[in-house]
Amino acid sequence: MYLTLKVSHTKHNKSCTTNRTPGEYEMNRIRLRNMEKEQSGCIAAITVGGELGRRIRDMGLVPGTQVTVQGRAPLYDPIALRLMGFTLTLRNKEADFIEVEVEK
C-alpha cells in the first residue's frame, strides 16, 4: 500500500481565490472523488506520500492549484481533470487522497 502520511496544508495554504473577504463565500472542503462534472475548486491538501503522492504533485496537483472536473470515463472511473491548461486523469481511488475547496 501507499505510504500514507498525515498531511494537511491548512497552515500554509495559498488560496486560489484572492481578495476574498471572510464570509463572502461559504467554502467547503470535499474529496476530489465527490466533485461533480464541471465543478471547479482549489486543491487544499494531498493526503498521501510515497510514489503516488509524488506523482500527483509532479503533475501540478499541489495546494493552491485550480481544478475543474472535465468528466468521467464511461464506467465512472477514472476521472478527467482540467488544470493549468491541460487534462489529467486519475482513478477515483487516487482522487480520494486529494482534498479540494469548493464553493458551497
Partner: protein
C-alpha cells in the same frame, strides 16, 4: 571535439518531432545498458560540426520511482552531455517547467526550447521569452518542431551555451526557511566529506536526502556509511519538524515550492492570457463526444475494428508476395538440388522456417503504422482512460487493451506485435502481466488449427464456436493476468495519473520513422534466432532417418506397383495433371503417392520428434492426445500453423496446406482416436500452451530477461495441459 546534446522534456511536448527534425534519417535506436528503455541517438551537422544528439525518455519529473526517470537521470549524471535541450510545451508552460526546475537543481547546462509556440498563441497566450530567459538564467528559443521552425536558432544557442566557459550559473530555488537551513547544513557536511561529490552537486545530494530518494540513499550508504547516516538523521529530524509545524512532509513542501517558484516567474509578466485560460479548445470539444458515456465506447469499437481491418486487409497482398517469394525460392532449390538431406534442410528447414517468420513483416509493419497513428494522435490515451476500470479489476492498466487486440483479441492478430505494443504501457508490473498473457489470444496462426478441428467435429456450429473461443481466450488471459498479479508479479497498482494530451494530427515523417524503427527491431530480433531454431526443429523431425531396411520396404512396394504395364507407368510419370490421365495411370499415381506419404509418416514417427511424441503419449493420453498430436504440438512451437502440416504428414496426407485442410479434417473425423471432445481438448491446449518461439523471444527481450521467456513456455504449457486434461476428463465423465 564532438559535442553531445541531450534532448529532454515531458511526454507530448514535441520532443520526438524535434529529434526527427534535427537528425532526419541519421538516427538509430538502442537500449540503455541493462534496462529495456529505448535509447534514440542521432547526429546533426551544424556548420561543419558533428553534434551527437541523444533523445532521453519523456518524463514529467526525475524521481527514483520509474525506470524511465532513473534512466534519464543516470544518463545526465554519468554521461555528462555538453548541454541539455529542454523541450517545453509553450501552451502548457507551468507544468513543463517543473522538469526544468529539476535540471536547474542538478546544476546542468540547460537551453530551453519553447516548442509549439504557434499553438500557444492560438490559445491566446503571449510569452515574453526574454523575461523567461532572464528569470531562469538559461537561453530560451521558440520552436515549432513539427515544421522544424526555429531548429537552427535553437542549435546555435545551444552550441553557444555549450562552448561557454565555466559552470552554468545556478539559481538556487528556495524551499522555505526550514528546508533551506537544513540544506545549507547538509551541503557543508557533504562538501567536507567529499560525499558523492565526484558525481553530483552537493546541494542536489542534500535535496535528494530530504526528498528521501531511494537511489541516492543507497549510493550514499555504499560510499560513506557514516556521512550517509548523519544526513539521513538530519533529513528525518527535518521531516518530523515540518510534520509538526506545517503538517506536511518535506518532499511535499519541495514540490509545492517548485511550483511556487514557477508561478512567481510566470506572474512576473512572462505570460499573458488573452481570453479565458481554461476555455474549451478543439480537443476538448472532440472529447465531449469521443469519451462520452454512450458514444465513446461505440466510437472505440469502430476505431478498433477499423485498425484491425486496415492491418489485415492492406497487409494481405504484401504477405502474399512474401509467401510467393519464399515459395518460389523453395521451388528453385527443389528443382536445382538433388533429392537428399541438404535439399530437405534448405527447403523444409531454412526457407520454410525463416520465410514463416519474415512473412509476418508486412503484417507487423501495418499493425505498427496503425498503432503509431493512434498513439501520436492522442486517441490511445482516451482508450486507456475509457477501459481502465475494466482492466484494473484484473491488475492491469487501461493501456493493456491495445496489446490484447493486436495479439488476436479479435481473432486473427499476432502476439509478436502485441508483445511489442506493450511498450506504450508505462507501469512496469501491469506491463509484465500484459505481455505474459497476450499470447493466449487467438492469433492468426492458431486459426487454421481451429478451423481444421471445427470443420471436422463442430461443422454445424462454426460461428458459435469461433465466438466461444474468442470469449475463452479473453477470459483465460484476464484471469491468468489476475493470478500473476497476486502471485509472481505481486505489488500495488502503479498510479494511473495520466495526461490526456490534446489531439494532434500526426506528421507523416514521424509516422514513417516510428513505424520503420519498430518493424526493423522485429526483423532483427526474430531474424537472429530464427535460423538456429528452424534448423533444430528440422533436425528433430528428420533424424534419426529410417533404417535402410525400412526404406527398402517402401521401395519394394513402389517396385511392385510399377511392375504394371510399361505405358501406364510412363504415363503416370508425366507432368500432366491427374485428371487428364487414363484411369489406370491415375490409380497408379495415387497409389505411388500413398506409398510416399506412408513413408513420410514412418520417417516422422521414427525421428526424434516422433519418438518424443510417442514418449509423451503416456502423459498426454489423459488429455486425449496421441503421438501424432504430441508431435504436431512440438512442431507448433516453431509457428502454430505448423501443427496442421505436421498432423498432415503424421496422417499420411503428404504436405497439407494449412488453408485447405479438408482432406485432413475428414481423416480426423474417421480416425477412431478422435471424437469431438478430443478436438475441443486440443483447441484449449493450442490456445493456452507455450507461445511460438518468435513470441517467446520477444517476451524475453521485452521483459528484459530470458527468465520470463522460459517462464512463459513452462507456465503456459503446464496451464494448457491442466485445462485440456480437465476438459477431457470431465467431458469423458459426463459421457461426451
Amino acid at each position: 571535439m564532438e559535442a553531445t546534446v541531450a534532448l529532454a522534456g515531458n511526454p507530448n511536448s514535441g520532443k520526438t518531432s524535434l529529434f526527427n527534425a534535427l537528425t532526419g534519417a541519421r538516427q538509430h535506436v538502442g537500449n540503455y545498458p541493462g534496462v529495456t528503455v529505448e535509447k534514440k541517438q542521432g547526429t546533426c551537422l551544424l556548420s561543419g560540426r558533428r553534434v551527437e544528439i541523444v533523445d532521453l525518455p519523456g518524463t514529467y519529473s526525475l524521481t527514483a520511482y520509474s525506470l524511465e526517470e532513473v534512466t534519464a537521470r543516470n544518463y545526465l549524471v554519468n554521461e555528462k552531455p555538453g548541454i541539455v535541450i529542454d523541450i517545453v510545451d509553450a501552451s502548457n508552460l507551468e507544468r513543463n517547467l517543473y522538469l526544468t526546475t529539476q535540471f536547474l537543481e542538478m546544476g546542468l547546462p540547460v537551453c530551453l526550447a519553447l516548442n509549439m509556440i504557434d499553438v500557444a498563441s492560438k490559445r491566446g497566450m503571449e510569452i515574453d521569452t526574454e523575461a523567461l530567459a532572464v528569470s531562469l538564467g538559461v537561453p530560451v528559443v521558440t520552436t515549432v518542431a513539427r515544421s522544424g521552425e526555429g531548429k537552427e536558432v535553437l542549435m546555435r544557442a545551444a552550441m553557444k551555451e555549450l562552448d561557454a566557459p565555466g559552470l552554468p550559473p545556478s539559481i538556487p530555488i528556495s524551499y522555505g526557511e526550514d528546508i533551506d537551513r537544513v540544506l545549507a547544513q547538509m551541503k557543508q557536511i557533504i562538501v567536507k566529506g567529499a560525499f558523492l561529490t565526484g558525481t553530483y552537486r552537493p546541494r542536489w545530494i542534500a535535496l535528494k536526502y530530504i526528498e528521501h530518494d531511494e537511489q541516492i540513499l543507497a549510493q550514499g550508504q555504499q560510499a560513506d556509511a557514516a556521512v550517509a547516516g548523519e544526513l539521513e538523521m538530519m533529513a528525518a529530524r527535518l521531516a518530523r519538524h515540518t510534520e509538526d509545524t506545517l503538517g506536511s512532509s518535506p518532499e511535499a513542501l519541495i514540490a509545492d515550492y517548485r511550483y511556487g517558484y514557477i508561478r512567481s516567474i510566470l506572474q512576473r509578466g512572462v505570460i499573458r492570457y488573452t481570453g479565458g485560460r481554461n476555455r474549451l479548445f478543439i480537443s476538448d470539444r472532440i472529447d465531449k463526444i469521443a469519451v462520452n458515456r454512450f458514444a465513446g465506447p461505440l466510437i472505440m469499437l469502430a476505431v478498433l475494428w477499423g485498425l484491425y481491418n486496415f492491418t489485415f486487409t492492406f497487409s494481405e497482398l504484401p504477405v502474399a508476395w512474401f509467401e510467393l517469394f519464399f515459395g518460389w525460392l523453395g521451388g528453385l532449390v527443389q528443382t536445382h538440388l538433388p533429392h537428399g538431406l541438404l535439399r530437405s534442410l534448405l527447403v523444409s528447414g531454412i526457407i520454410d522456417g525463416v520465410g514463416g517468420v519474415l512473412g509476418f513483416v508486412p503484417l507487423i509493419l501495418f499493425m505498427f503504422f496503425g498503432i503509431t497513428l493512434l498513439e501520436d494522435s492522442g486517441y490511445l490515451a482516451r482508450m486507456a482512460f475509457m477501459l481502465d476500470r475494466v482492466f484494473r479489476v484484473f491488475g492491469l492498466h487501461g493501456s493493456s487493451v491495445m496489446p490484447y487486440i493486436v495479439s488476436g483479441g479479435i481473432a486473427g492478430g499476432c502476439a509478436v506485435p502485441g508483445i511489442m505494443a506493450t511498450r506504450t504501457l508505462k507501469s512496469p508490473r501491469e506491463r509484465l502481466a500484459t505481455l505474459l498473457t497476450v499470447p493466449f489470444m487467438n492469433c492468426g496462426a492458431k486459426m487454421p488449427v481451429f478451423a481444421l478441428l471445427i470443420a471436422a467435429f463442430f461443422a454445424r456450429h462454426e460461428a458459435v464456436m469461433m465466438s466461444v473461443l474468442t470469449l475463452i481466450a479473453w477470459t483465460g488471459a484476464l484471469l491468468v493476468a489476475k493470478l500473476l498479479r497476486i502471485t509472481v508479479i505481486r505489488g500495488p497498482a502503479t498510479p494511473f495519473v495520466m495526461e490526456l494530451p490534446p489531439y494532434r494530427l500526426p506528421t507523416f515523417k514521424g509516422l514513417v520513422i516510428h513505424t520503420w524503427e519498430r518493424t526493423w527491431q522485429y526483423v532483427r530480433k526474430a531474424g537472429t534466432v530464427i535460423l538456429g531454431v528452424s534448423i533444430i526443429l528440422w533436425s528433430l523431425m528428420t533424424f534419426p532417418a529410417l533404417p535402410d531396411s525400412r526404406i527398402q520396404e517402401f521401395d519394394q512396394q513402389r517396385q511392385t506397383l510399377r511392375a504394371a504395364e510399361a505405358d501406364i507407368v510412363a504415363e503416370s510419370g508425366e507432368d500432366s495433371p491427374t485428371s487428364e490421365l487414363s484411369d489406370e495411370a491415375a490409380t497408379l499415381r495415387r497409389q505411388l503417392l500413398a506409398v510416399d506419404n506412408r513413408q513420410a509418416e514412418a520417417a516422422l514417427r521414427y525421428s526424434a520428434a516422433g519418438r518424443l511424441g510417442e514418449a509423451l503419449e503416456r502423459i498426454s493420453g489423459v488429455a486425449g492426445f496421441d503421438w501424432r498430436t504430441d508431435m504436431a504440438l512440438v512442431g507448433g512451437f516453431a509457428a502454430k500453423e505448423v501443427i496442421v502440416s505436421t498432423l498432415g504428414t503424421a496422417y499420411s496426407m503428404g504436405r497439407v496446406d494449412p488453408e485447405k485442410s479438408g482432406s485432413l479434417s475428414r481423416a480426423l473425423t474417421d480416425s477412431p482416436n478422435w471424437r469431438p471432445l478430443t478436438a475441443f481438448s486440443l483447441i484449449i491446449f493450442v490456445m493456452f500452451y507455450s507461445p511460438c518461439f518468435v513470441a517467446t523471444i520477444c517476451i524475453a527481450r521485452e521483459a528484459g530477461s530470458l527468465k520470463w521467456g522460459a517462464f512463459s513456455m513452462a507456465f503456459n504449457t503446464v496451464l494448457a495441459f491442466v485445462l485440456a486434461t480437465s476438459v477431457f476428463q470431465i467431458g469423458t465423465l459426463l459421457g461426451f
